[in-house]
Subunit: 376 residues, 2 copies
């Protein structure tokens, strides 16, 4: 993986850059649609590429490990071959899902034992095992195995958890560096800064993570329920420490406003289920604000979902039609809303990139954070 | 509407023809994908047009009447404008759903009172009202209001029901002929032959229906649970009576074999939920037989869903990937399987048409009915 820092904004800490992987180039800042079980829900791979213009998607190690399972993924030749997405993929480490989805789980120094949310079967994730798993899935960018602390989190627990995450990182790196990619293209490992909402812990963790000198760095444990101001404060502290010549990935963030504010603090990569999950509940993000398409207000609004959009679904379907589909629980409603939201998220980050390059990012961002947060 | 009978097969009663509506031409024999509530479930309108190559879709009056409702449909300018499908549409009369979906219902000479399956509200469908409703929905081809008898059905009930359907037809025609289309393009009304599985009733009904001299005729009350041989026997009796210079529509049929056998008996138009509904349960129809994609057998079969298909989804996704999506209840699984099945159904009828024109239909049909019924 290569990262080229192209432009740093002079009014904010925003950056425009370019990541090169063996599956292609990613222009940053970027948003990565979440493809939990190897599918970005309700959209075809060709729609992701041609209509949404996604440059990289995310897969969840926990889900893929359980289903279809490693033997199928390995026989397929990795996730790219399995799902037919030939551009870059990033996988998380499975940690987040082990803590949030699995019923019984036990965290020890060795790793985490948990029960599958599908069939109750018992499994063990260790730092070494998760590296092997992500070698088999074959994503271009893979993540270290960490503990993602909940919010709120007592200081003592946050510190001990962070220290264990650092020890696990050492094990991840050692194992990763001793193993080879399986499918002839290279993989890179990103470590994850933890430390909850405690400044000293975040600082300490960022310094530790930077010292591993990997090709990119991530920030985890945010967007878990803390106030947005706390999130921005943590991001700022961490970004000031993480090296500027490597991409910075803020995991699981967030609303359009969160994304714009964090770009201004120096984040290059984002992922979040919000555009896809909320789409399936009828919430549309637009450049003029948020639409609950189920509202009575749209019942007889036959104007296109978004008039001046270059997305076919925005132009070809009306708000009234989409409202009808949402109320009727029609699958097409989820398809249209998901296309719309992902297209908007990708538009938002690519527009941010253009403004950074142009030198007008700050002004534009200050206008947009007001606009996109409105309820229409 | 115009119908041009192009070729009649010399070995069977199969026909190739062309229906011209104000929304375009339909080459027969044709299969019409079912778009219950104004959406063919899990496919975009552009996919219907470009990938599936549907020439006409069906809408359900019962569903559309309840949701989005007539005032929205009228304000939109009809269903074509509402859902963005600009090719021909056919609507059923709502009768079938009133009998099958609605809880409480009461059939009287005047019409049928029923309760909505959505909110329990009470409604009355009469022959005249259903004509008005279908004027508002604005389909190119609309259907008479009939009673679709269940199977099995006692002779006396079948006869009385058929006679009422005939009286209702008179009221439908009178009302239809006294009203005008609402949106500047023409609509045509098809009457429906009933009579359950009784030869004398079917003959009597077909003669009565033919005597109305509408532009096309339909056969209802089949594919409701009777043995396939009974269905074919009824179709044959009816087709021998219905005029050959008008299209014949067999409602709600059926499996690929049913479609081929009924084409051989002189049917021109079909609709059925089977390709769409069964797709959502993981059943794929192919030219080589039926696949239950959830079976263990496909777990590690990384070959394309259908190698030599011109459908992107057949070539871009593997059987193993589709199996994984079906087991994971991923929406994309329904999308892919629906695309596949509808593409196959449309291929099947267009191939039948080509063979009729070529003069090789009978031989081809006899081979295909064996092939498509196999379990793979």
């Amino acid at each position: 993986m290569k990262f080229k820092l192209e432009v740093t904004d002079s009014h904010t800490k925003a950056r425009a850059g370019e990541i090169t992987t063996d599956h292609g180039v990613i222009q940053t800042p970027i948003f990565m649609p979440v493809g939990t079980a190897g599918s970005v829900k309700a959209v075809h791979q060709r729609e992701l590429e041609n209509d949404i213009k996604a440059q990289i998607i995310l897969g969840n190690t926990y889900h893929l490990y359980l289903r279809p399972g490693l033997s199928t993924l390995e026989m397929a030749g990795g996730l790219h071959k399995f799902n037919g997405w030939e551009k870059p993929i990033l996988t998380d480490s499975g940690g987040y899902q082990v803590y949030s989805l699995s019923g019984v789980r036990k965290i020890k120094e060795e790793g985490v034992t948990f029960r599958s949310h599908i069939d109750g079967s018992k499994h063990l994730f260790t730092p070494e095992g998760v590296m092997d798993t992500q070698r088999i899935i074959g994503a271009d960018i893979i993540m270290a195995f960490d503990e993602c602390t909940p919010y709120p989190c007592e200081y003592g627990y946050a510190r001990r958890s962070m220290e264990m995450t650092h020890r696990w990182l050492k094990r991840c790196c050692d194992h990763f560096d001793q193993t080879q990619p399986k499918y002839g293209y290279s993989q890179t490992l990103f470590p994850i800064v933890q430390g909850s909402v405690y400044k000293d812990l975040r600082k300490q963790s960022a310094e530790m993570i930077a010292s591993f000198e990997r090709e990119g760095n991530a920030i985890g444990g945010l967007s878990v329920g803390e106030p947005a101001e706390d999130m921005y404060e943590m991001t700022e502290i961490v970004c000031d420490i993480l090296p500027s010549d490597k991409p910075r990935y803020l995991m699981g963030v967030g609303t359009p406003v969160n994304i714009l504010e964090n770009i201004a603090l120096g984040i290059d990569m984002f992922d979040c289920v919000m555009p896809t999950r909320n789409a399936r509940n009828g919430m549309l993000f637009t450049k003029n604000g948020i639409i609950n398409i189920k509202n009575e207000r749209w019942k007889n609004d036959f104007s296109p979902i978004e008039e001046d959009s270059d997305l076919f679904a925005d132009r070809n379907y009306s708000k009234a039609y989409l409202r009808h589909l949402a109320h009727s629980n029609e699958i097409l409603g989820s398809q249209i809303a998901t296309l719309h939201n992902l297209h908007f998220y990708i538009w938002l980050v690519s527009e941010a990139r253009a403004k950074i390059i142009e030198g007008t990012f700050n002004e534009w961002k200050n206008k947009m954070v007001k606009q996109v947060a409105q309820r229409l």
